[in-house]
């Protein structure tokens, strides 16, 4: 069970901001999210979308534990 957070337009697109999802690693999590919502799955893989695991930006694959927090971050606009 990873805690998944969506930010900005990704949350608007998905219709949710936070959800608990079972996944052993990032690619499994992405597959699971895509299966439930293919449009969201495509948006999460879109240009400029970054992933943070436990508040650290991760590129590529990462193992997830039950306590992991995974955040999908669309391009940042600045404040």
């Amino acid at each position: 069970m990873a805690r998944v957070l969506l930010f900005g337009r990704l949350a608007d697109q998905a219709g949710w901001r936070e959800r608990e999802i079972e996944a052993a690693d990032l690619s499994t999590l992405r597959a699971s999210l895509s299966q439930a919502d293919p449009v969201l799955g495509e948006a999460l893989a879109g240009p400029g979308v970054q992933v943070a695991v436990d508040k650290t930006i991760v590129r590529g694959e990462a193992a997830l534990s039950a306590a992991s927090e995974v955040a999908f971050l669309p391009p940042m606009s600045g404040g």
């Binding site: 930010f7 900005g8 337009r9 508040k55 955040a71 669309p74 391009p75 940042m76 600045g78 404040g79």
Partner: protein
């Protein structure tokens, strides 16, 4: 150094008074206050989303870098999140240094970062409904000035 995200309106003058108080070796305090513009009714409100624990950590890291780079004595950054209405303060940056050039440049540098690269997601609520905002070309150019000079 203080970095704060807040969903409550704040009064910049109160922060300035506190920041300036009791500084016997500070010659220069530069501050910047970003306000939400009404744009003649085109912008009814601004909504800023942050990732608590991530956004403030990223800003703190940049602010610590600025302290070293510009030999600052102190920095105070306050950033609003949530819904902000025209006339309200969005961001406050104050820098303290021995001399004015460092204080000015650090404040300018921090604002360029905050406006273009800091991890916020910005939605504008206008007459045609809400719209997510991307950094402007000028924001990117402003922020890049510091890369070239580094």
């Amino acid at each position: 150094m203080i970095v704060t995200l807040t969903d409550q309106p704040f009064e910049p003058g109160v922060l300035v008074s506190a920041f300036c108080a009791g500084r016997e070796e500070t010659g220069a305090v530069a501050t910047f206050i970003g306000l939400a513009r009404a744009e003649q009714g085109a912008a009814r409100a601004l909504e800023l989303e942050a990732y608590p624990g991530f956004t403030d950590a990223a800003i703190t890291e940049i602010a610590q870098g600025a302290v070293t780079r510009f030999a600052l004595q102190d920095v105070h950054i306050v950033h609003r999140v949530g819904v902000i209405t025209p006339g309200e303060a969005i961001v406050f940056v104050a820098t303290a240094a021995a001399h004015r050039r460092e204080a000015f440049e650090a404040c300018d540098y921090l604002m360029d970062y905050l406006k273009s690269r800091a991890p916020f997601w910005k939605k504008e609520h206008g007459p045609e409904g809400p719209r997510w905002i991307e950094p402007t070309a000028r924001d990117r150019t402003d922020a890049q000035r510091w890369d070239q000079e580094a």
